[in-house]
Amino acid sequence: MAQIGSFALLLALALSIYSFGIGLFAIVFQKEPRWDRLGETARRAGVAVFGAVFLAALVLVISAFRDDFSIAYIFHHSNRDLPGPYKFATLWSGQEGSLLFWSLLLAGYGFVLRLRYKTDVRLFAYASVVLAAVQIFFLSLVNFAANPFGLLEGPMRPDGSGLNPLLQYPEMVIHPPMLYLGYVGFTVPFAFALGALIMKYPGEKWIQITRRWTMVTWGFLTCGIFLGSHWAYSVLGWGGYWGWDPVENASLMPWLVGTAFLHSVMMQEKRGMLKVWNMWLVFATFWLAILGTFLTRSGIISSVHAFAQSSIGSWFAYFLAISFAVFVFFFARNHAHLRSEHKLESLVSRESSFLFNNLLFLLLTLDVLWGTWFPKISELVQGNKVTVGAPFYNRVAIPVTLFLLLLTAVGPLLAWRQTSIESLKRNFLWPMVGALAIMFLVMFTPTSWGSIFGLRPWHDISYFYSLMTILLSALVGFTVISEFYRGGRVISDKTGQGMFASMVQLTHRNTRRYGGYVVHFGVVLVMIGFSGAALNQDKEMEMGYGDKMNIGSYELVCRSYTQDDGPNQESEWALIDVYQNGQLMRTMTPQRIFYKASMQASTKPDINQGFKEDLYIVYEGQNDKGQPIIKAHVNPMVIWIWIGAWVMILGTGLALVPNAPAPVTVRVPKFVEQAAPAVIGD
């Protein structure tokens, strides 16, 4: 089996080299028909790469299911009793397999791209060559530096070392593919952008072609990030969902720049502006996705989530340098082609709001990048490492995020070119009044209402930030609702339909705009979820039979604790009865699991999710008497993060739906008894 997989990888590399080399010659000598035909073979070779890489991935998965421990990768990341879905997930659970998976996804994107080449044959030919170049890099890695089909030396082992316990969770079967689909997907807009730059592509068609790719990719990355966050919350057992770990930061950076691009690209489409900027944003998104991969795989930055240290870091460093040099070379050569067609007319306009939006997204990216690299910089400058953790990021990123929220509220109310202050005031007044009302409600209601009610900003700076987040989120929410309402009212007045039907029709007429608003609404929900973090509570206690712990409005009573033994794992768990207002609410069972194959332990918290707050119970371990040590957290509003994420995905999907054609209204002229004869020149 290993030989088949290995050969498939080698074949894929050869096909990629052919697709790149011949494709490049076909572009250079495009006037000769002979090269035109060869260019077609390069495209087909690119399509075939997918088949070869798919075969290699299939072989690896089959090897995992067949418990073929002669393959070192399978031995290190699987074991006989590992449940089926996790055996499948072995494909991306380790360094070598995940690089193969990356190659597979890239080949998949290339496959689709090359099949759709008729949209614009020349542009697709350029994009195909760029994509093939990136593919060569990843296939070289899996062929020479991190081969997933390497054989284990010595006698055949009876069982494998098993999958990392933290990865044995259902979301881990979905999270990495989503994240990788996002990372890898940004290669496609980059390939088109570089192709358009090299060929001095006229007009903005390449932007329109890549828009869907970018949105789909952004959607996958969003989904991947939130799934990862949910996994951290549900599995790691520290009660949080985002730890500002370098690996988390690595996924956030391309997402932030990609979001900036999705906004600024509208300026290029509608006004022919920011062409240079967008070119750099596309490149930065792609580059940061690779940089993130470099960070997690080189061992240069320490992280609990990173893959094992290996030599492939230098491969990534060279690739980053080469891709940067290539981009800068073509940009320097052809940047004159990217001149703006229009000028900015007013500071109070949609254009300038996009500029500030981009600035804030880039500042956030820069802050995250700076924080991620600062330990290394500090080590180089002063010889000792420092930790850059959550306190740094929270202090630096939260104010910028609040500004971004403000712009999210104001931006959609601004017209292209110029907006009068009067119109802005008119549209902004009621959303602002509503948002202030909500803020005061949250601030002055009694704390006994629980959750985020009674949020007094004078208690702590984090309360102040939370309150501002709620104010601005409400503002964004109300502006989104007012935009739907105003548009719906116009349609309703014209057609006599009900308001809801009018809003649906409105959305269908411009799915991109209103889908975008739905995404903004999702962001609002996520932000409200984040704002609850300031009011998190936690308590830890050793709990024997009948012991009680009070936290928030809950009373926890330890009913029992016991152990269990399964083929893959042993577990210790406690039975905790949870009472609220004297009534038994439910019984929760936090666990500690010991995985036999890997000889590693992990916690499995039990979470009671609610719209107001989560009760999150962790089995921390046992004391000397064998009694469980229980840690309980009360985390307000967390569920809104996950709901918001779903709304964001829904909005992205909505924005991808083609627009319905607007009904054409023809005004019938009044009957004229004797029409005047037409005269030439009228």
Partner: protein, 164 residues
């Protein structure tokens, strides 16, 4: 004197914006939160979890319990925050602090984002002004430029008719 309703509304709006600021400025921290506050400024240095000290739940962690009790001892002794943090740095090294300090080279970690923000805003404002002042290319036919008021009218009309 008759008060202009617009004026009243504007003043009320400004007042509403000021209230939260005043509330924050008048506020003061609570002393009993010191354990939590300092505990969230330190990290567990076991090397396996990388968590903030009070969030470490790493199974079998040999450091976090000890560090937590040292923190509690410091607070019970009446040491101030800075002294407690210094004691931790001396014992466990600078990586025990969850964020860079505000002295020496570490200060650049804090200064850089602020400088980037200031330069970024100045940069965007300059770009906007430069673009605004850029001369508009006059069409060969000499078509007159549409006045802003007229443009507003057309925009309103387009919005009324399509609202898209």
């Amino acid at each position: 004197m008759m008060l202009n309703s617009k004026f009243v509304l504007r003043r009320a709006f400004q007042c509403a914006l000021l209230v939260p600021l005043i509330v924050v400025l008048l506020g003061a921290g609570e002393p009993d939160a010191r354990f939590k506050a300092i505990g969230h400024r330190l990290v567990c240095i076991c090397g396996a979890c990388g968590e903030l000290l009070l969030e470490c739940n790493h199974v079998g962690c040999t450091y976090s319990d000890r560090m937590r009790s040292e923190l509690m001892d410091g607070i019970t002794r009446g040491d101030n925050d800075s002294l407690i943090e210094q004691a931790f740095v001396q014992k466990y090294g600078p990586t025990v602090l969850a964020a860079p300090t505000t002295s020496g080279f570490d200060r650049t970690a804090w200064v850089f984002p602020f400088v980037a923000f200031v330069f970024g805003v100045i940069g965007v404002v300059m770009v906007v002004r430069a673009w605004k002042n850029r001369p508009t290319a006059v069409p060969a036919g000499g078509v007159p430029r549409i006045a802003n008021s007229e443009l507003d009218k057309f925009r309103e009309q387009a919005r009324e008719e399509t609202d898209l």
